[in-house]
Symmetry: C6
Subunit: 267 residues, 6 copies
């Protein structure tokens, strides 16, 4: 038997609202509208959903999507047992049964057509047909579907179909403002907020290189890594190089540009 | 044993006819002609079929097609059991046996050649050979096959073969007229019809952008989402952005154009 | 045990000969030469084979070919049983054993190289090696292989290999003459032959658009659909649009051209 | 237990030597050199090997190669049994054990790299490693490997690797001379040799079209088909169209050219 | 039961630090930050991780990634047992359970989207969902994830996604300095350091050819091979050709250039 | 239980050294360095390894690599048994356990990334992780890995990765000198050395056509075939055509050029 409490978010996740997104999400959840969260890598999309699950006190089932994921991975499959085959619900089915928020992370990674299985759960039917089992599940009243995706990222081969997109309300995220981001860094790591401000400044410089040699800006997560290392006694310049430059680029010019920005900040 | 009543549409679905499609469908069903419903995303194709199944009082079995769907997913397969293998009918086989309307939603998503399995069910034979079981099923007299597809959507790789198309009578759907659509919004959500009219107006503006930066127009479903949020107390502009703009575009210019249209409507 | 009578064509299928094809087929069958039937979608190829099987009083086993079809689907496979594995003959093997006419419909859909398995059945050997079972089947004296394909349809990727083609005698089909086609429509549906003639006229107009916006002409089957609907009381123009235009084109110009032809015919 | 006699060629196959190929094959077999037979579709390659197996009184195991064929299909596999898994030799393994001539027909159809499994059987080792069984088979002294392929046919994707080719001695076949071919037709069908000569004349005209609209010439097999139909009372022109033209071309111009040649011959 | 000690690095691996990488790694491990090691083939990345696991006294589980690796290969799968199916943890799951350092070697070889399964282990959640088992593993406090990759090597098809990269702190490795490398060679093989210096000199000459006919420089490993052969009595020039030239190039010009450099060094 | 003696090379293979390759191989084996043998088709690479295994008196396990080969084919897999699953070592695992020389023939045919599994066996670790079994094998002290490949043969899609190449010492082979090759032919077949010299002369002429219409030169093996046939009484010209020309080319010009060279030699 699936245990509902195992999916409960036990402790309040650290989340700083950037606007009215908490209230709007509550309204979407009240009407059980499906939700899409958009935004660049590491800007806090997953954290936001975790926070909302905690705030609404609903179980949260997260699925990290990938290209090899089949519909069966979401819906369930038969397993071989001592007494023949036994059905095992997939995470989407479990969420529909127990009334969880089901969060499909990086949904565009999944095969475009695999996403078709979520359609009947996202319209007035709110059902999930288990074709292989011959069962039609009516979603629990608390069930809600949430997907994330990174729009700067898609190519022609990998994009959500309009017939999928048009089943969701959408939230657009971006990196936090400089002040808020420094505050987040300081609160998460305990590092002095002034030093955090310097890290944010370097991060923003790097974000301006997006499209000019960098595929993506530096995520808040990497800034937190740098702050953590500095807090633990690592030299600030070494920490920045290791956490904020080396992971995101293999290009010598970009690397040198960012290294100089670091040297300038911590001169 | 498959239970026929589980596929009955219990409650009359909300459906507003746009023309004589209800009468024509009844004629097609009377002759058991296969039916194809064409039209853009979210214009009510699935709702129409659900309504007709309710009106004709026939069971409805819906299959959301996808690229990974094999012929076995439609027809059935052997499962391993304590006593060896056991055959499990697929949804198409079940429909043929119990006399249901079988609705293959977004059929072009299925592998083009998988659709070949429906051929003997759509001509004078009305049979379904279960090659793996060595059984030839004669379709129940009430059985009918229905497929949907979105013509604005196909590419060279994914289109129905003529030898499949030429087995169907076809219904072409479009978005409802402005008046009817506002009426639908108001009836479905309880929102004042005047505000609904404004939403429809914005929706129609967006539909004019199709082919000029938008792949598809805004569906009636997204308008219903916006109306629902407004009815639940969300600010109209925020509701429109969240339900009618953010889901359908990642392009900053298109987004700003639509946001201005919203600001103008709810100034 | 496979039951031969289940494959018998019980009732004489409706078939109107277009020339001497019945006599030529009888000669080919007398020498057990393999037969290929070529022609456009819905011109009556499958009906002809069904008719010949009835006339020759031989069982008929039809296989709708598709791209996912493996050699095992034709030949047979091992199934898991309570006592280990059990062999299940595929349709081709069954036909070779019981002396049926085996009709591989739309054979080009099958993987080109899968068709290699039919080679030893189509030359002087008339054998079918079941490699996986280690058995060599000698075909029953009544066995004959028939394949269909649509030459207007192939692309470079999908064509029969010459080493396959050169194992068959071939029949080339086309749409019936206007008079014959009107006669067929009237006989199949009971609709007045004059109205049937109008439908045929529209159909022939559409067939002239093949290669000029239409991939295929309108099949006799679709004309029968239209006649059926009119016979059942549907307005002739609505019936034609629904049965003869909407299924075959998504192009607005072609659609309008055909709609005008219909309006002109039933003015 | 595999029964050696089931692979014996019981009756002398009809074969007319074109040159000294019978003696050369005997020399190759005496040294157990692997043999490759090359030539166009239907020129008698398979018949020649069958004849040699009969003449040398060795069992013959023929495998029709195809793209889906895996190494396991040649070598063998484990099957599930009441007592667990049981090994089943593939045709190549059987041939190596019992000392048969193993004939891989149309070997280029097999995946290029699957053919690697035949390498250790074609050099001084004359062994076949059954990797999955952990067994190394020493080929029976009578074992010989023969492959066929059609050089006019290969594309860049499908050709034998040099490291495979250089393990074979090779025989190059072509269509028989006109006189010999007419003789073959007459002997196989009992049709008057003069009429057979006309068929050969038409066949040679068609062979001149190879590369000018025809992918391959007409095979001797198709000429035999035509002769058979005429012998059974079919009109000569109808027989030629049905057996020698319709199977090999879908092109209207080529078809008309060949039809005229037929009309001229049987005027 | 998995035995933790089997993954312990028993003996101190030979490792010469090139800078402060040991201290920085210790800081990253202290905060359990995920680590990426970048650098060319054979420069000592794997050796470094092995050394750190030994120094930190943590078990090390290494997975050589490859394109055929599925998520199941990392996470685990069900095996068939006498009593039905039995779950077997994959190496990543084992590492998460016992608190090992999990080292995914050449991670870009794995399917880009398979790497998505490591995401929840690399952020604040530090969890691994076993979707197929319906279990959510909380990583052991000692668990750390390390990946290696070679930036000079990627193509457009194979690169880590930014959403993966931005979960790691990164170390950039290069070949050691000439002096240090000669020292390493001498210490590993016992060969005179002066001769080792000559080998390093040749190696550096070859590294300058990278991008000018060589895809990669000569690794320290190949220099060690040459030193080993010379130490064992092989002529220096033959040893260099065999260990430092023939393995890395098939190009006659490059080969001659390097052979001349060898001749000059050992003249 | 795997029996070590079954892999012993019982009889001294015929091998004529071309230089100091035997001594260099012995030095490489003494240090257990992995070995790569490079060279054109049929120049004696496999024979050399067989000879060295005989000379060193070590078991030899040869694996003919192919594109369908998975890592499991090398390493091992679970088989289903009466008592559930049973592990079966693959050839690489067997070699590592019993201390054999493991020879991966034509390793580039294997999927590039499958070759990653050999990495831990080719560096200081000398281990083979059986991920699916959760076992880490330490290679037997006598174990050595050898791979062969043909450099004239690779394309962009199929080449060894540098990170694989740089794990091997390498031997470069070519066809023997004319004198030596004639000697080999004569010793292997008993044919007069003067005639053998003529065959070698023709072979060398053909090798000059490499890159000018021939993909590869004629291998020593084909010369041996020709010599064998002549020794067995076949006419020299017929033997040369059958063994040295027909197998390697389908091009009429090349064929005629080589036929003339044969006629000139045996005029």
């Amino acid at each position: 038997m699936t245990n509902k409490t195992q999916f409960t978010v036990g402790k309040e996740p650290f989340y700083q609202a950037q606007g009215d997104e908490v209230q709007l999400y509550e309204a979407a959840y009240a009407a059980r509208l499906p939700v899409m969260v958009k935004g660049p890598t590491g800007c806090g999309k997953s954290r936001f959903i975790e926070y909302m699950a905690w705030k609404l006190n609903k179980p949260l089932i997260t699925v990290a999507c990938n290209e090899d994921m089949t519909a069966s991975d979401l819906v369930g499959r038969y397993l071989l047992d001592a007494n023949g085959t036994r059905w095992l619900d997939g995470p989407l089915t479990t969420a529909a049964r127990i009334g969880a928020i089901c969060y499909l992370d990086e949904v565009v990674e999944a095969r475009q057509d695999t996403t078709v299985v979520i359609h009947p759960l996202t319209d007035h039917r709110r059902t999930l047909p288990l074709d292989k089992k011959g069962e039609l599940i009516e979603a629990h009243p608390d069930f809600q579907l949430v997907i994330s995706y990174n729009p700067g990222y898609q190519n022609l081969m990998k994009d959500l179909k309009q017939s999928t997109k048009q089943r969701f309300t959408a939230f657009e995220f971006d990196y936090p403002t400089a002040e808020l981001e420094a505050d987040i860094l300081s609160k998460e790591t305990g590092l002095d907020v002034a030093i955090c401000g310097k890290l944010v400044q370097i991060g923003q410089a790097a974000r301006n290189l997006k499209g000019h040699g960098l595929d993506e800006g530096i995520s808040t997560r990497l800034l937190v890594y740098a702050a953590t290392l500095i807090k633990n006694g690592v030299d600030a310049k070494a920490a920045c190089r290791m956490a904020m430059v080396r992971p995101i680029t293999d290009d010598a010019d970009i690397r040198d540009t960012l290294d100089h920005a670091i040297d300038a900040s911590f001169a």
